[in-house]
């Protein structure tokens, strides 16, 4: 595959029904050729990949023949390949070629062509299903390649030359792909956090009229916040009054409330029982809050929460004036406090939106809301029971639940070390027997005797006068200073300057490219171990070839470097070759191991 072309036996079909012409399909990086076996046939093809706008193929296991469908502006080229492996090879190749052309041409037209033809795929025969990328994904990849010239270079180097397949290349860059994916995350709009209790009346100043503006959104919010209003809406609206009357009445009540004229409100309420509904405390809410209180852990100290009360703070920048309300709180009808409002608002916002606000008809909205509320009631009751039953257990007396994890038990360290001591003694001679044979021949008396003799020798003789002979001293000095790289002296004055900078630009570029490339290859190489499937095996073989190619390329750079630079270049190239060496060594060792294993298995069989 690394030759940059693919040749496969295939049948060329002009249409789906066409029985097809036998021949040979040849794919190169720029073009595809089809040569029929029958030289007299006029079904010869030579097509530029530039004109290919889409490519599809049949799925393996779909009991359809392996078809490769290449769409161009006038129609399709359909090739029936001999087998699915053949098809996969061709598909990868075509995908890479088309993708490559897309960005080398620098035009998005091909791409949009691909996307367009995909959109029209409804008309495509159902047998041809897209195992390949979705157009969005393709677009994303091209975008990434276009934005990052280095990535593009790497892609060209590795994918176009067949060292890696398209999917392998991107598999290691899932993060890049995902990052863009995440931007598209759908998030539902929740309830607004602003208090809709504050539907501010607008007065024109001349007349006594006040205007409230009302949108479906606000209506929704009102229903959610005030179940009593909701209930009233359900009771009254079509039967007793129109929707408009209902809202007028509601806002009248709100207005009365906002004026803080408790007496007037009471008077009005006495006259109009519908209006009274709005002014009264919300019974449903009360019931709910009673329910909530029952759900509170009975062991919780509610007293502690009194400090959290913030009614004493003057006006929170909210339209409603908290301090005044407190003073008038003695009146039955106007006991709605800022705190209650805030709490209710918070609860509703947290509860979230239960249905889309786009629903136009208020009546249906109201009904749906009603239903969902009922449904959740049952759950809540069940949950409450569970909670109570859980809380009434006394944990200490319960038997231990089955933990899904093994409890950690650190044993007595002494026990561990004792057991290890025995092990150590046991394995000591065993592990060192092969290491140093001569040592075993010596008894401990002899050994200690030798040591004692040495000590007494030096005691009597003293230290020899020239401790180190001059020749050896100069040798040692040379040895210790040899490794201090000369480049450090010449170029190391400026710490910003690296050895790379003194190399000619082309060499530098080449080295950097090779480095990036070999890193990529190695990443793929090492990630394919252990080899568990034949697929991985072929991949490793392919990668090993590429790695050895890379190795020789590096060798070339080393040799071709200018003589004065050669030392520096080889210093840089050396570690690069080392890592490649390690990979090749591992490949060989692994292969040997696997062969041995296979033989052994055969032997047993």
């Amino acid at each position: 595959m690394s030759t940059g072309q693919v040749i496969k036996r295939a049948k060329y079909k002009t249409s789906l029904k066409d029985p097809g012409t036998d021949g040979v399909l040849k794919l190169t990086e720029e073009k595809l050729f089809f040569r029929p076996n029958d030289p007299t046939s006029n079904m010869k093809l030579e097509v530029d990949f530039k004109s290919i706008q889409s490519h599809r193929n049949t799925k393996e296991g779909s009991n359809k023949p392996p078809w490769l469908n290449l769409g161009h502006s006038q129609g399709n080229y359909i090739f029936e390949l001999a087998s699915y492996p053949d098809l996969n090879v061709c598909r990868e190749f075509v995908g890479a070629a088309v993708l490559l052309l897309c960005f080398t041409l620098g035009s998005i037209s091909t791409l949009s062509g691909i996307a367009l033809s995909r959109n029209k795929s409804g008309e495509a025969p159902p047998a041809i299903s897209g195992e390949q990328l979705s157009p969005a994904e393709m677009e994303l990849r091209i975008k990434l390649l276009r934005e990052d010239s280095k990535l593009q270079k790497l892609h060209r180097e590795l994918v176009a030359s067949g060292k890696l397949t398209e999917s392998e290349f991107w598999a290691t860059r899932k993060k890049l792909l995902d990052k863009d994916e995440s931007r598209k995350l759908k998030q539902r709009v929740g309830f607004k956090n602003s208090m809709i209790f504050d539907t501010k009346p607008m007065s024109d100043g001349r007349t006594n009229q006040v205007t409230f503006s009302l949108t479906p959104e606000i209506k929704n919010q009102i229903f959610a916040l005030k179940p009593a209003v909701h209930q009233a809406f359900l009771n009254f609206v079509p039967s007793k009054m129109t929707e408009k009357d209902f809202w007028t009445k509601y806002f009248r009540a709100e207005y009365l409330h906002s004026t803080k004229n408790a007496v007037a409100a009471a008077a009005e309420a006495a006259e109009d029982e519908e209006l009274a509904v709005f002014l009264k405390d919300d019974e449903i809410l009360e019931k709910e809050s009673r329910k909530k209180v029952r759900r509170v852990d009975p062991t919780l100290d509610m007293e502690a929460d009194q400090g959290d009360d913030y009614t004493h703070l003057p006006d929170h920048g909210i339209f409603r004036d908290g301090s005044k309300e407190v003073s008038e709180a003695q009146h039955q009808l106007c006991r709605r406090t800022l705190l209650q409002d805030l709490n209710r608002q918070g609860a509703v916002v947290l509860e979230g939106r239960t249905l889309d606000s786009e629903m136009e008809h208020q009546r249906t909205v109201a009904e749906v809301l009603e239903r969902t509320r009922h449904e959740s009631d049952g759950d809540i009751e069940q949950e409450r029971r569970n909670r109570i039953s859980r809380m009434t257990q006394i944990e200490d007396l319960q038997e231990q639940g089955d933990h899904p994890f093994a409890p950690l038990c650190i044993k007595d360290p002494r026990e561990y070390f004792d057991s290890q001591q025995a092990n150590a003694v046991k394995t000591l001679d065993h592990s060192q027997a092969g290491m140093d044979q001569t040592r075993c021949n010596l008894s401990s008396e002899e050994a200690y005797g030798f040591l004692k003799v040495s000590i007494s020798k030096i005691k009597t003789l003293g230290i020899s006068d020239p401790l180190v002979s001059p020749e050896i001293a100069s040798k040692v000095l040379a040895g210790l200073t040899k490794n201090i790289s000369t480049s450090k002296y010449q170029y190391g004055k400026n710490s910003q300057e690296s050895v790379l900078d003194i190399l000619p630009n082309t060499t530098k570029e080449q080295l950097l490219d090779h480095w990036v490339c070999s890193q990529e290859l190695l990443r793929h190489f090492w990630s394919s171990y252990p080899i568990t499937t034949s697929n991985l095996n072929t991949k490793v073989n392919r990668l090993k070839d590429s790695i050895s190619q890379m190795y020789s390329k590096l060798e070339e750079i080393k040799v071709s470097a200018r003589s004065d630079m050669r030392h520096q270049v080889s210093l840089i190239v050396h570690p690069m070759q080392q890592v490649l060496d390690a990979a090749l060594l591992h490949y060989d060792a692994d292969k040997r191991k696997r062969n041995a294993k296979a033989q052994r298995l055969n032997g047993y069989a």
Partner: protein, 285 residues
């Protein structure tokens, strides 16, 4: 030499704690004689003390059965012992060394004769660290401590855990461990020790010039090292010993709870007692 307030510990004053390998089995078979070795080392000690009056040397003998402090320059009795024509340092140290070897032999006799031990590197490292901790706690002014391992005998894989623990505690108290390895093969323990603690690992290729290597590479105090180009290690052998058979392994099993290392699959971690599930690969085999 007790610490007087007039003493000014500059940043180039060192406390050198030396672990001296006195494994008789190693030295009796090694090509470079122990007497030569010790004379180079003694000269090196002397030059360290000459570098600065405040420099301090502590020598710990590392035997097969025990470890012991054999010299401390701060508590050196200055009166010369019986040996004439030799500095007090040398004669005192040699005297103590002789005593140590005799004691070590005594201890060895109590044990089974077949067991050939490697030097107790872990023990001498621990002793060195203890000494250094004492210096650290003596007051705000103290010399810059470092440890030098003069090791020849090969690693004892059974000491792996203890040595690693010593290394990590040295790292924690920012005490570099320098290692000068005399033996034929590189020591993985000392390579790791120097690598982790930021010390120097060096294996002199020419043992005749040992003194020169010691004085050129290991004599420099921590402050001056920043200005020198000391030999860099070529590579570090990071292999670990398994906890079960104390063998050095390339690949093994690691307990996911306590990170203990094993050479083969176990049902249960011997360190922390976690029960392991059947691994995928083991199930396939």
């Amino acid at each position: 030499m007790t610490s007087a307030p007039s003493k000014l510990y500059a940043d180039d004053v060192s406390l050198l704690v030396v672990s001296l390998d006195t494994n008789p089995f190693f030295w009796s078979t090694f090509s470079f004689p122990f007497s030569e070795f010790i004379s180079h080392v003694l000269a090196f000690f002397n030059s360290i003390l000459l570098l600065s009056q405040l420099n301090q040397i502590v020598v710990i003998a590392t035997g097969c059965n025990s470890c012991s402090y054999i010299y401390d320059s701060s508590s050196d009795s200055n009166h010369s012992s019986e040996a004439v024509g030799m500095p007090a340092l040398y004669s005192n140290l040699l005297q103590k060394l002789e005593e140590f070897v005799a004691k070590d032999e005594q201890l060895g006799k109590a044990q089974t004769p077949g067991a050939i031990a490697s030097s107790l590197l872990s023990g001498s490292l621990s002793m060195a660290l203890c000494y250094i901790q004492r210096i650290f706690r003596s007051g705000p002014l103290h010399p810059q401590p470092r440890i030098l391992c003069l090791q020849g005998s090969p690693d004892g894989p059974e000491q792996y855990v203890a040595v690693m623990n010593a290394i990590f505690s040295a790292q924690r108290s920012t005490v570099p461990i320098d290692s000068c390895f005399i033996g034929s093969n590189n020591s993985a323990f000392l390579q790791q020790a120097s690598y982790i603690t930021g010390g120097i690992y060096y294996r002199p290729p020419q043992l005749d010039g040992l003194f020169q290597y010691l004085s050129m590479v290991f004599a420099t105090d921590l402050h001056s090292r920043a200005f020198l180009r000391l030999p860099k290690s070529v590579g570090v052998d990071f292999r670990a010993s398994c906890f079960c058979h104390k063998q050095t392994i390339d690949m093994g099993y690691v307990c996911s709870v306590c990170l203990s290392i094993f050479c083969e699959h176990h049902q249960k971690c011997s360190t922390c007692g976690s029960v392991f599930g059947q691994s995928q690969s083991a199930a396939n085999l």
